[in-house]
Symmetry: C2
């Protein structure tokens, strides 16, 4: 059993209301790239993400960077269009996972797409369960569904103790995005 | 006041017993480098850290990577030597902060050096309080002292919900280090 477990790829979940979820996922990418691993990132929330990590991510060898939908912001009034963008992002995610070419696939903020029912939780679970043995998957976002927590190997809840917004300090380039 | 706050550099603390603290700090470095910021990392625990992040960190432009003490492991029986290594690492950290040349200084796992009283909490607090306005500081490690939490702008507790070690899955290269 220990031998098998040794080889096991992990399902890692960073959830909770505190800051650091996407950031920790980016740190995992950084660490893995240092090992010459291949890492894919799918960002399920775009509006925010003309970001520092994206600027670096798009030009970093070994890192395959994907952003959901062109111009998608989650502020659209067109729910059908939003759902379509989320589903396309999910299809790309499935390809990235199933190809077996990536050591880590990061599904950044996918929980929102699941919780808004833009993509089907059951599909996500099936894909995760049937993924190639070598592919680690990282999921970030608030309110990770219990079914995903149940099947995960590592779950950390980022719990906000103190948040700069509370003190009137707005999000800053370089720090928050 | 809002204007002043807008400009404020942050003291950010990632603490708690869950995984993701150092990882989130590395993610902050990654994001900031994407903005062409200068980032310094001082790692206060060395043994673990012939790591993926260090391999990449040491060759990444804009990133200044420092590791406490040569061969320091926290497993030494020579406490005086340990303390000296920690104090040297702290002195370098003070120089990195006070130079004003770094946008972010990451003091990785410094809480252990403080809690073991290898470095003086009061010195750390003074340095943080008097730091150049432009320098963001990130502190990671379990059991961050309350005095540091009190003065921090952002504190996230990484709370372990599920940990792979509990399931007999050992730390893996590329994922954990």
């Amino acid at each position: 059993m220990t031998t098998k477990k040794n080889q096991k790829s992990l399902l890692i979940v960073y959830t909770g209301n505190g800051k650091g979820k996407t950031t920790a996922a980016m740190g995992m990418a950084f660490r893995a790239l240092g090992r010459k691993w291949k890492v894919a990132v799918m960002q399920f929330i775009k509006g925010k993400w003309t970001t520092g990590e994206r600027k670096l991510g798009e030009k970093t060898p070994g890192l395959s960077w994907h952003v959901m939908g062109l111009g998608f912001t989650w502020e659209s009034k067109d729910l059908a269009k939003d759902k379509e963008a989320a589903q396309q992002a999910w299809e790309t995610s499935v390809e990235l996972i199933n190809s077996g070419n990536q050591n880590i696939v990061i599904l950044d903020e996918i929980t929102y797409a699941i919780n808004y029912e833009f993509i089907c939780l059951k599909d996500v679970i099936n894909t995760l369960q049937q993924r190639p043995e070598s592919v680690h998957v990282v999921i970030t976002g608030r309110n990770a569904p219990q079914e995903i927590i149940d099947m995960a190997d590592l779950v950390t809840e980022m719990k906000p103790i103190k948040h700069p917004y509370e003190q009137g300090i707005p999000a800053q380039m370089g720090i928050d995005f």
